[in-house]
Symmetry: D2
Subunit: 130 residues, 4 copies
């Protein structure tokens, strides 16, 4: 979301008149966090599928970070959503018939904050405890 | 996801070679369920923002259903994701500086199942109890 | 959360001194919404498992409402969480080796608001459009 | 979930007869991942609240790991859920009137898998790519 006053006016007018014509946010900074679960696979292990997702993310060039309960990515709304959709398509192509993904997506207009910045902000507060 | 054998082959090859070129799923059948939370607003009430989202959904023409803990929409991956992105953009344009949305998104290739079908399948099983 | 001034003081002191001794919230009003997914089951259908969950909820006496992307329940924090844990235990006992549940849980201290109230508040705003 | 044949029988019988009497799972191994959002706070920053949650987790002695989009904890179902409920109570006591938490909770009976194990399993697969 650009903060130039002119663009702001245009976006406000669109939001009032026809929000279905609005662009999607230019940044999902810091917390598009997703966790993809294959359903109806013969095994309870999902590491194979998670590894395939990591390979796709690596190939895509997007900034990403895997943790034990999901993967966080950082980019524009459309970039983030397209890549997760491609993960679904890839696993479907590989034979997984049903997939459920849960996501937490954050956007903000007051500042740019990468996922490293977010963790750093909390760690700074915790460091003051000592 | 089309099930024609030819398209399947193409998708499988893309999944192997370069999944970042794959199309996103053509259908998020039945459970793109999302819940949008504004952060840093002066009041604990979110009904104003939820109402704005419902108006946008209505205007967009997408199939949707509001429940007390979110809204379920049904369409192609890109349609669903674009509309939710526009909800963020609209609220940002209206002055909300930070938004977090959580989603559950399901795709399947074995059958088309609308969100009404899903509830009906469970209710059919429960009806057999009597 | 009781709003009597005396109890507030006690809770504030506990929050400062040892929050690990705090009671859990007495109400998860309106949106403990959960969606349970079995992993490693032979079929992509989950309606059998969802039906079993509905039966348990009915038997428990808790207020609940199923929608296409999950089920919303209403009660104290411990009641809500215990019941969802029992759903996991029940499905495990029935042979499902792995389960993932996603939840949205809301608590508020400013007013009691049931899940019907939440939907009503939004519908009131939308009705004013006409 | 104990795997002794005797206990299995008892649990199966309870699941059939009255699942509302079942114990909750003894382990939420590896992915009780939660993200807590205060609603109606004057600022869009949530690092203060996240830091308070980290302090409570530290004090509680539970195994936990913060990442940029949430915190993962590991323990029995009741331990995990009670602590997150106490986080809500603590923030309420500190003046936050409304809180929404989203969680992904996993339980499995086929093996014990810590959150480090999960990441290691995926990284092992990825290492084989080279």
């Amino acid at each position: 979301m650009d903060s130039s006053p002119q663009l702001r006016h245009i976006l406000e007018a669109m939001a009032d008149n026809d929000p279905t014509k609005l662009p999607t946010p230019s940044a999902c900074v810091a917390d598009e966090d997703f966790c993809l679960v294959p359903i109806g696979t013969p095994t309870a292990s999902v590491s194979k599928e998670v590894a395939e997702v990591q390979r796709l993310l690596k190939k895509s060039g997007i900034k990403y970070s895997m943790h034990s309960a999901g993967t966080t990515i950082e980019g524009s709304w459309d970039q983030c959503m397209t890549i997760i959709g491609q993960c679904h398509s890839m696993l479907h192509a590989n034979g997984v018939v049903r997939i459920q993904t849960t996501m937490r997506v954050g956007t903000r207009t007051d500042k740019k904050q990468s996922f490293d910045d977010k963790v750093a902000a909390v760690e700074k507060l915790l460091a003051e405890d000592k």
